[in-house]
């Protein structure tokens, strides 16, 4: 069986759904939700099918390509294709948006606009993961960032307008760095004689670049994408943004959008500028460890449940970046797996926090307690997520973090801290120690929120998850365990496409 233009369908489905939602009558909530759910289902089913096909038929290289010239002179073309790395992230996006649509079932305020923007955002995210043209890559990136402003500004909670504009400006500054880096790459590429200039990533990744240029351009791209990936000290938009955003947006944002940044560093930075990447691994690695340690310590000090999860994201994205910095096959596989695993985990967390908040009307950890009795399903799912968060064996977090740390210990034997102490083993040790801190804050949250004495007057009548809400719990929670027990399909899928990033 084969479907023509599968990637284009994945892109067009949510876009088309957004347009349909736009013309549906405002009051017909059911139709709006069904159209959105249909689009999300198409994305999920198709991406799962693509992963399966790729694993069984291709195992390597860019597949499912669609190409159409867009602007002839400058060499811009609509070119989508996917390899194992992109496909695993496309699948992640499919999963999170599918759950996100169901998690937003309770949005009744301006529902139409909400789903419209959500679907637009998802189109952008899918687009970034499958674009093989630098220009469309940028276009989809902006498409993924901007709806966020309105989504947080309108449907958010707390200091939503502040968070929304802060997030938008941070990410747009990031995109400004990217744009300059991209234009530079376009002109500096040393193409074979007679070949016209192009934004085609596959061509650019094979083209040579002068060493100095690579060093400068990689730094620009690292800054630009890094802001989105939440690198310290440019991460401050992310806790505020995640905490203020409505549930589905937090899920998408922490679950998928931050991965766009890491994916960009991998695909554009490491893929096209290998020498530049080599020159900066020490910085990327060191900042990654600061992320891991700092994020988990700050998470420990939070009272607001959403801020805990948000800072844990900052910490976990550090693991991803550390894997990218290590630049060997094991660590890269771990990094992409960590993107996937963290996406599922954070998506689950934010969905659960949304459910708890909807019922208890508070996110203050100190004010809650003993909720497990009223909502056993939610408590179990939260526990699974928490265990995955500090990497308990048998959960996906364990596999991913193990691979990253293993790879990091062996990485870059030639780079030293001072006086002959090898740098990367030290970084790995620091990162591993921080995992203990993660365990502390996760267990503290579990204990304070779900166990201990319960305030019967306030929380005596809370209910467990209902109908559509179970979708998220079962799907995401189940996957965390499934990947932890049987990671090989995913690691094979990712591993099949890492060769291009590992040039000597």
């Amino acid at each position: 069986m084969s479907i023509p233009h599968p990637l284009t369908i994945i892109l067009v489905a949510p876009l088309l759904a957004a347009l349909i939602v736009m013309i549906l009558p405002r009051r017909n909530l059911l139709a709006i939700r069904m159209v959105s759910a249909a689009a999300a289902s198409i994305g999920l089913v198709l991406s799962a099918w693509l992963c399966y096909t790729y694993l069984h038929e291709h195992r390597g290289g860019l597949q499912f390509a669609d190409r159409a010239s867009w602007v002839v002179g400058p060499g811009i073309s609509y070119y989508v294709a996917a390899d194992g790395v992109s496909l695993s992230l496309v699948l992640l996006t499919g999963l999170v948006i599918f759950c996100g649509v169901f998690a937003s079932w309770t949005v009744v305020h301006r529902t139409k606009e909400f789903y419209c923007l959500l679907l637009l955002l998802v189109t952008g995210v899918f687009g970034v993961f499958v674009s093989q043209d630098l220009f469309f890559f940028f276009l989809f990136y902006e498409m993924a960032v901007l709806p966020m402003y309105l989504l947080i500004g309108i449907w958010g909670t707390g200091p939503k307008e502040y968070s929304a504009i802060k997030l938008t400006l941070y990410l747009l500054v990031g995109s400004a760095f990217m744009l300059v880096g991209m234009l530079g790459m376009y002109f500096a590429a040393q193409l074979p004689l007679g070949q016209p200039r192009t934004f085609d990533l596959t061509v650019l990744s094979k083209a040579g670049y002068a060493h100095t240029f690579q060093v400068v351009a990689f730094f620009l791209l690292y800054l630009g994408f890094g802001i989105l990936a939440g690198i310290w000290p440019l991460h401050t938009w992310s806790p505020d943004g995640h905490a203020s955003a409505p549930t589905a947006v937090s899920m998408l944002h922490a679950g998928v959008l931050m991965k766009l940044g890491a994916y960009g560093v991998l695909r554009v930075g490491i893929g096209c500028l290998p020498e530049g990447a080599q020159a900066w691994v020490w910085l990327v690695g060191a900042i990654a460890v600061i992320n891991i340690v700092y994020g988990s310590y700050v998470a420990m000090g939070q009272r607001d449940l959403k801020y805990v999860i948000a800072y844990s994201s900052v910490s976990h994205m550090g693991v991803v970046m550390l894997g990218l910095a290590a630049l060997n096959e094991v660590a890269l596989n771990g990094a992409v797996l960590q993107m996937f695993s963290h996406g599922i985990m954070t998506g689950l967390f934010f969905a659960l926090v949304g459910l708890v908040y909807e019922r208890s009307h508070t996110r203050d950890i100190e004010a809650m307690g003993g909720l497990a009795r009223q909502m056993p399903g939610i408590a179990v799912a939260f526990t699974i997520g928490g265990l995955a968060s500090f990497g308990l064996p048998g959960t996906s977090g364990f596999v991913a973090e193990l691979l990253v740390f293993l790879g990091t210990f062996r990485a870059h034997a030639g780079s030293y801290l001072i006086g002959g102490i090898p740098l990367f083993p030290i970084l790995a040790v620091g990162a591993v120690i921080a995992i203990v801190v993660t365990a502390t804050y996760v267990l503290r949250v579990l204990q304070r929120v779900f166990h201990g004495p319960i305030d019967e007057s306030k929380y005596g009548r809370l209910t467990d998850a209902r109908t559509t809400e179970w979708v998220t719990l079962v799907l995401l929670g189940g996957l965390l365990v499934l990947i932890g027990v049987y990671p090989s399909p995913l690691t094979t899928l990712i591993g099949s496409s890492l060769g291009q990033f590992l040039r000597p």
């Binding site: 002179g73 902006e142 995109s175 400004a176 376009y186």
Partner: protein, 478 residues
């Protein structure tokens, strides 16, 4: 011979004819519904546009008239198209507005045509004096149009300010041109070109050239010659502001491109630094001053200053790609900015003022109108895939190609800054509550014009065809 020249100048003559016709029509029909004059003006502008476009094939190489006093070429054609589209959209957009506010409707449209005629002269000038004639005709008409809302004291004040400062700029231009004439002995561009390539640049010529440049910088409202813009933009009737901020700015750029990238191209190393300074300052100062504005017209005025800065990146690049980028940018800017000003016209006519807070909750009251405004603002902010993004992309591209990394860096960061204030309007429309404000009354004419603008802004997400035209024009010119 004369017949041939008249044939070549058909667009200009038709513009002149239309101007006279609408004034006469207004004189003859004193009473009754005179809205048709506005619709007629829009239709006439479109018809002239078609005639103008018909000249494209015949102008594969430039045609000099009267020994080079005027030069007809494809670059000029594209700019003429911009001016005529500007007249068409502004005229259609102000049909209801003008019939409610103004007693002398015919003259209003007539002046729009006269102004466009002046701009067309500027766009095909081959001589410093022709350029001056065009400049004066265009700006004199605009002085009157700015002050056209006679009952509003702001409008009169704006007109007077524009007149005094504009006249000063003209004087500076004439002084500069006389210095150039004094050192080179001619005002013909082609002759200046030859003279420079033989004798090099003398001090007097350089000073004169700078004065001429300053006058253009005034016209396009580039920092530090931008002071007039906020007051004039705020005071002028809003459709006039829209025309002023787009077509008039494009005319200034047409002149700059003609002079700097024409006869002065070989001396690029001399003037480039000034253009870079103008461009950088405009992008930084314009965006910073737009941030605190509470009045949407003033905000768009400062944003227009910044936009002039972006377009100057293309001039500073001093290359074919730069000319192409600037031309494309100004083409799309017409729709983006004029469309935004027409939305301001609609809201302002209904609400009675132009504060940004008047837009609070607009998305609840008029979802279509606020969606249009959102698209236009995002295009101004350079968000892909809208037309404004492509405009900036080609400019920055030209900048990077010519090695102006610093300037491009300022440009992209300034664009991010600019999104802050564009998003503040989006915030008012989408996030702030409507708080009992009434639904905005839509004016059919302005709505049609806005729809055209939005369609163009979205349609230019596929910039290929227009880009190709601009490419051919730039290739023939440079």
């Amino acid at each position: 011979m004369m017949a041939q020249i008249l044939e070549q100048l058909r667009p200009e003559l038709l513009t002149l004819g239309s101007a006279l016709f609408v004034i006469l029509a207004d004189l003859i029909q004193v009473r009754g519904n005179r809205k048709w004059i506005g619709w007629f003006s829009a239709a006439a502008a479109v018809a002239i546009l078609i005639v103008t476009a018909g000249r494209w094939q015949g102008l594969e190489r430039p045609v000099p008239l009267w020994g080079g006093v005027m030069v007809l070429d494809r670059l000029g054609l594209i700019f003429k198209a911009i001016f005529l589209l500007g007249v068409a959209i502004a005229a259609a957009g102000s049909v209801d507005f003008a019939s409610q506010r103004f007693r002398h409707i015919g003259e209003y449209y007539g002046l729009l045509f006269f102004s466009a005629l002046g701009m067309m002269l500027m766009a095909s000038a081959g001589d410093l004096l022709t350029l001056y004639l065009g400049l004066e005709l265009a700006t004199l008409s605009l002085y009157v149009l700015t002050a056209y809302a006679k009952i509003s004291p702001r409008s009169g004040e704006a007109g007077l300010k524009y007149l005094i400062l504009g006249a000063t700029a003209s004087a500076v231009y004439l002084y500069g041109a006389s210095l150039v004439y004094g050192t080179v002995g001619t005002t013909l561009f082609s002759a200046v070109d030859t003279h420079i390539s033989i004798n090099g640049i003398s001090a007097g010529f350089a000073v004169g050239g700078l004065f001429v440049l300053a006058a253009f910088a005034f016209k396009i409202a580039a920092v530090p010659f931008h002071m007039w813009a906020p007051d004039v933009y705020q005071g002028a009737p809003t459709p006039v502001t829209g025309f002023l901020s787009t077509a008039s700015k494009a005319a200034g750029f047409a002149a700059i491109i003609r002079v700097l990238l024409g006869p002065m191209l070989d001396a690029a190393s001399g003037w480039q630094v000034f253009i870079i300074a103008l461009s950088g300052m405009s992008m930084i100062v314009g965006n910073l001053l737009a941030l605190p504005q509470r009045d949407i017209k003033r905000m768009l005025a400062y944003s227009g200053v910044a936009q002039a800065g972006y377009a100057l990146v293309g001039v500073a690049a001093a290359s074919r790609l730069g000319a192409l980028g600037a031309t494309f940018f100004l083409f799309q800017y017409l729709f983006t900015n004029l469309g935004a000003f027409l939305v301001v016209t609609i809201v302002g006519s209904s609400v009675g003022d132009d504060r940004i807070s008047s837009y609070n909750g607009l998305s609840r009251r008029n979802p279509g109108l606020s969606l249009a405004m959102l698209v236009l603002l995002l295009s101004l902010g350079g968000i892909p895939p809208l037309s404004g993004f492509w405009g900036k992309l080609f400019l920055f591209w030209a900048g990077v190609q010519s090695g102006l990394y610093g300037l491009v860096f300022i440009g992209v960061l300034a664009s991010v800054l600019s999104l802050y204030y564009y998003l503040m309007v989006a915030r008012a429309m989408y996030i702030e509550p409507a708080a009992g404000r009434p639904v905005v009354r839509l004016q059919l004419s302005a709505v049609i014009a806005v729809v055209v603008c939005v369609l163009m802004v979205v349609g230019l997400a596929y910039p290929g065809p227009i880009l190709e035209l601009a490419h051919k024009a730039a290739a023939a010119f440079l």
